[in-house]
């Protein structure tokens, strides 16, 4: 997030797009409720009529994968009515003219045709967002998990810059990070192209710096992403995969393809706290300890680094991941000798400029939000205050592109996937929690009652759902949350694995798969 969670409650307008906030980030939803209570305008754009839609001033359900068109349409109206922040555009940005030119053709009429959103709603959104004193954008995987994921994010950045809603309090472009420490995993260099602190691996200065600190030669070649690794296993160019606390058998698109890839590995090491479907395919399974059994830090969605403290001893013979990694590294002949997570954080602070001022002692209390470049620095509540990282904010002129696959006579329904409020990602933890499991014990397919009627399906019926990649069985829930032609499935459940159906087509830049759009057929199970 460019801004902090608490700032949302003082925003005059909040635009939630592609985030089912009350289910997936409930404590962010708290701030949205409060903003609404204080009189903020709430705009919700989501193909499903999610809980936040119930209290929105404007709720629109765009057709799947049409976000760029919607955002261009909103910008068209803002420019048409002169609601843009000309001062901000001139002082802080460049490339504005190209966007202005680009969105000229995105009239409400045209955009309505693409998105299925009434013209007057597009105008209303533009007015609420464009005329607000402070406006915040909140988004999640509904924006990013598309072949146009990068385009979608850039479009939202365009909208924020156009209206001067970045670099000040209670504004910003705010992606909600899905995993508790996905922010930290990125910050720590758990990415193929960057060292900790987003220092590019293919820049000689960075390579030299890390070679000197780590005392060994390093590669200047950008590594493989998850999907490239799976591809590599399939074609034999990758021999081994070491998976720590991930479950690609459920989280990745096109499960049949994932399974084939993992089975091709000469060595598959899985380190986890539960015996996941991915662990079932491993050659060796190493039992890690959960967050309750170790010390450390997590970095939340607002870049706040906070302490994790040990509550109990490791369960059974399990060991904290940091100890296991050290054991492996030492056996490989690369010595690691940290006596505690705190000792590791000291090294992190040494090599990561944005974490330089962070120590365990300073994390007592409310934690610290990075960038925190030195021990006197109080941390950073919101980013881009006086300048962007690159200096001026760059507008990107972007055209709408349709999703990678479309419905046809064989696969007539659009399928989108997501989370539900009691479960989490691949269900490894939540399905092992009796309370959560009993609230929602199994997966389901949400379908509009009109469509269900056409197919002779009643509430609770078993159905077969098939896509161009796979077929699964699940039970149905009849609901107006989805409009006719659209169905929804949560992806937590291995018995009705939504990702057996989803499309592995990738965004060309971010390499994120289009998990939010594919075409399926729904049939009553025999």
């Amino acid at each position: 997030m460019t801004n902090s969670v608490a700032e949302l409650e003082n925003s005059a307008c909040i635009f939630v797009i592609g985030s089912n906030t009350t289910s997936s980030h409930p404590l962010v939803a708290t701030r949205i409720f409060r903003a609404k209570q204080k009189g903020a305008k709430l705009i919700v754009a989501d193909p499903r009529k999610i809980q936040l839609a119930l209290m929105a001033d404007t709720y629109v359900r765009q057709n799947l994968g049409t976000d760029v068109a919607l955002i261009n349409g909103i910008m068209h109206v803002i420019l048409d009515r002169g609601w843009q922040d000309q001062g901000f555009i001139e002082e802080r940005t460049e490339g504005f003219e190209t966007v202005k030119e680009k969105v000229r053709s995105y009239t409400p009429e045209k955009v309505s045709g693409i998105t299925g959103i009434p013209e007057e709603d597009i105008v209303k959104i533009a007015e609420d967002f464009g005329t607000a004193q402070t406006a915040s954008i909140v988004y999640c995987m509904g924006i990013t998990q598309h072949v146009t994921g990068v385009d979608n994010v850039k479009s939202l950045a365009n909208l924020a810059m156009l209206t001067g809603n970045v670099g000040k309090e209670s504004t910003g472009v705010n992606p909600l990070r899905g995993q508790n420490n996905v922010q930290g995993a990125c910050d720590m260099g758990g990415l193929p192209n960057v060292y900790p602190g987003y220092q590019a691996v293919n820049m000689l200065d960075n390579q030299k710096k890390f070679e000197s600190i780590w005392g060994t030669d390093l590669s200047d070649q950008v590594g493989r992403t998850v999907s490239d690794m799976l591809g590599g296993l399939s074609d034999g160019s990758l021999k081994a995969l070491y998976v720590m606390g991930e479950n690609p058998m459920l989280s990745d698109p096109d499960t049949a393809h994932v399974e084939k890839a993992l089975k091709a590995a000469e060595l598959l090491v899985v380190q986890d706290i539960f015996f996941t479907p991915t662990a079932e395919l491993a050659h060796v399974v190493l039992p890690g300890s959960s967050f309750a059994e170790k010390d450390g830090t997590f970095t939340n969605t607002e870049r706040r680094v906070m302490r994790v403290r040990k509550a109990i001893e490791p369960v059974g013979d399990s060991r904290p991941d940091w100890q296991i990694i050290q054991e492996i590294s030492n056996r490989l002949g690369y010595s690691m000798d940290y006596d505690s997570p705190e000792a590791i954080l000291k090294e992190i602070a040494e090599v990561t400029p944005s974490y330089s001022g962070i120590t365990y002692e300073r994390l007592e209390g409310e934690g610290l939000q990075w960038p925190c470049p030195d021990e006197g620095h109080p941390g950073t509540k919101f980013l881009h205050k006086d300048a962007f990282a690159r200096g001026k904010g760059l507008f990107h002129a972007i055209d709408f592109k349709p999703p990678a696959e479309s419905v046809d006579a064989n696969y007539p329904f659009w399928l989108t996937t997501g989370r539900i409020h009691v479960h989490y990602h691949t269900g490894t933890m939540t399905r092992n929690s009796p309370t959560l499991h009993s609230e929602v014990p199994e997966g389901s397919l949400e379908i509009n009652p009109g469509d269900a009627g056409q197919l002779g399906i009643r509430e609770g019926d078993e159905v077969e759902v098939s896509s161009r990649r796979g077929k699964i069985r699940t039970k149905t829930v009849l609901t107006e949350r989805v409009k006719e032609g659209l169905v929804f499935m949560p992806f937590h459940f291995v018995e009705s694995n939504a990702n057996a159906l989803t499309n592995p087509a990738l965004d060309p830049i971010a390499k994120i798969p289009e998990l939010k759009v594919c075409a399926v057929r729904v049939e009553k199970a025999a």
Binding site: V5, H25, L27, T144, L176, R177, Q179, N180, N181, V182, G184, A185, M188, G190, P192, P196, V201, F210, T216, D217, L218, L238, A240, Y242, M244, G245, E246, I273, V284, L286, P287, S290, A292, F298, N300, R304, M306, R307, I312, V315, W322, I324, I325, E327, I328, S329, R331, L332, Y334, M336, P341, E347, E366, V422, Y424, N432, T435, L436, P513, L515
Partner: protein
Amino acid sequence: MDYRTALTTCTYCGCGCNFYLEVLDGQIIDTIPCKTSPVNEGKLCVKGWNVHEFVQSPNRLTRPLLRKNGAFEEASWDEALDFTASKLREIKDNCGGNSVGFLSSAKATNEENYLFQKLARAALGTNNIDHCARL
């Protein structure tokens, strides 16, 4: 009677709520939200309130497992670690560090993520390290 509380951070979503795990005689008996947390101010979602349940699930992995003749068998730590390291070394020696991939975890701590990418980069000499940020 050994009752203690541990102030920590939630392991589910990216909100990063703070709570106390209440421990009685070595068992977590409850979770209670931290009133003064800047994130959650004494509130939690249903997952947070029940976060202690999975930790002590009887389904937790408690011993290393090695596949022998197609089936998993319990192994000692030394055996499992030796096997893993020797196979990794063999593959590195025969096919190069770039023939190994590492999937790090958005569930693990910063410290563990740091060590894991260091393992990939420094011990194996590859930048083949990623995690589920996109999923």
